[in-house]
Amino acid sequence: MDLLANLALGFSVALSPYTLFLAVCGCFLGTIIGALPGLGPSNGVAILIPITFTLGLDATSALVLMTSVYYGAMYGGRISSILLNIPGDEPALMTTLDGYPMAKQGRAGDALVLSGVASFVGALLATIGLMLLAPTLARVAFLFGPAEYFALYLLAFCTLGGMASNNQAKAAIAACIGLGIATIGVDSSSGLPRLTGGNLHLFDGVDFLVAIVGLFAIAEVFFFIESHGLGSSIGVKLEKVTIPWKDIFETKWTMLRSSGVGFIAGILPGAGASLGSFLAYMTEKAIAGEKGGFGTGVPKGVAAPEAGNNAAAGGALVPMLTLGVPGSGTTAVLLALLMTLNITPGPTLFTERPEVVWGLIASLLIANFVLLLMNVPMVKIFVKVLMVPAWILLPGVTMISFVGIFSLSGSFFDLLLMVAFGVLGYFLRKLDVPTVPVILGILLGGNMEDALRRAMTLSDGEVSYLFSSPIATGLWIAAIVGFVAPMFLRKILKKPQAITD
């Protein structure tokens, strides 16, 4: 068995006492990051990347630590959704729909444990799916030439813009902003600076970490200033926490179905976790029908989005590892991490550096079990974290961001740029322009342009080469459908609105 041998290799890398310790630390930290309102997974991982970098960890350790934080944050996001009705990030929105009503009925403990178990099931099944599917897809990915890669990047931007936003034009503009920023710097083929405006600091290009931390973390400060830190006190009481065996048993099919739906949604490049939790919730709602009582605080309504969300997080790793195209905002940040560690995702990763891939998969499995063990008995400790008032939390996060970015280059320019990105992020989010395409654009712009250039060089400037192979044509069609179809489906598949008190 190839798979078992590979897994054994992975565990031999990831199961040393030191990496286990890192995994536990990462899970703990991640859950706290996820639980804190306004600090989602992408945020938390982004702030920690520069700091891990300066700690001088080797690639595997850093990867284990950060993936634990990533999965931990996915788990933690449900705590603020259920107790505060504040989703920590976009995919957690669906959990508030039934989680918060359930908590108000005095079943906060049950909801937290149930969602923890659902997260575990979703993430575990998705990790298994990743193990089975990724090597196969990696083999297919060898067929990809520059034309196919260009179409694939396009597909990622189109589905991201099409499904994850309310306005196609705004999503496309966001992608253009990101791609435009990515073109700044010294050009790879001519060696001459492009679009720098003569500013020496821009010759190196704009570091995506600066953009990520600015757009996510610094922008959050402005939102808290706007709301004056209101809405972050706990409205519901958490009594004794027991394990609701009955609910867990009754929702077993829901969890399995939602994991499947979430995993498939996660694999689509660009679609990501938001779509996973959304589709999982809507599917279960349709199956349960009117009598299901979705939206009033039923266990199934809590289990479905959580399983879907976490399964999508695992599924999003499939395109990220095999093709280098992330499936969601948070995987984009993980891709950034891999790039900082000088690991280039893609089909060759599976053959050339199997210890990294399988070490990562093994650490995901480990993180999952650690998180389940940590989240059920220790949920009360994490709830305490929510008591940290915003007027301490936000300045703290800001200062940590500054130190992190400062430690990258030690230059004031990156810090000023980060503040500028924070302001940009505030306005973009206010105007309902999604910020994830901006990040993805900065991250993938260089690769996308390289693919286009190589295609143009190979074909001697013949544009039709971009559509020449069946795979490329298929991807182009998928990209166009993914961008256009949601305009018509939006009326049918209306996003449920967050409930208010």
Binding site: K170, F222, M399, F412, Y426, L431, L452
Partner: protein
């Protein structure tokens, strides 16, 4: 409606400026005449088209904050900008305490707790970064000369700094 039209106009102007800059990209014999320009021109073109769509099909306005909040956010941006340039010449402790304190005050306007939050965060984070995480390039404090201080601040003043 108006905010989306303003946004569309800004992105349109940016896109046109970007396109103009893209046509001016320097090339040489290694890169060929059009390859370094192709991708920027494509992006600029798509951005311009999208700007028109936003201009002519604007979404409803978001709830903009009141003018007092704008002032608070403006102060926050200014504080963060000044903090960015002073972090190096003044070291970590003093700028962080002041910046964190002011930010805290902008979120919840109570002077006492805000000052405590600033001091506590500054000391706590310094110990965490310097001793627990071993980030070597953080310095507790520096006493700069007036010239150095002016050099740092002048970065923020357009046309004076560098």
């Amino acid at each position: 409606m108006p905010s989306d039209r303003i946004f569309g106009l800004i992105t349109l102007i940016t896109a046109v400026a970007y396109l103009a800059a893209a046509t001016q990209i320097q090339t040489n014999m290694f890169s060929g005449e059009y390859l370094p320009k192709l991708f920027p021109l494509l992006i600029g073109g798509v951005a311009a088209v999208c700007s028109f769509v936003i201009l002519f099909k604007p979404d409803p306005d978001p709830d903009w904050p009141a003018s007092r909040t704008w002032i608070a956010m403006g102060i926050a941006v200014l504080v963060l900008a000044i903090y960015s340039v002073l972090l190096k010449p003044l070291g970590f402790l003093a700028p962080t305490a002041i910046a964190a304190g002011i930010l805290s005050f902008q979120i919840s306007p109570r002077a006492g707790p805000a000052a405590l939050a600033g001091l506590g965060l500054s000391l706590g984070l310094f110990v965490l970064f310097k001793y627990a995480l071993g980030l070597g390039n953080i310095v507790a404090y520096r006493i700069p000369t007036a010239a150095k201080l002016w050099e740092a601040i002048s970065i923020l003043i357009p046309f004076v700094g560098h």
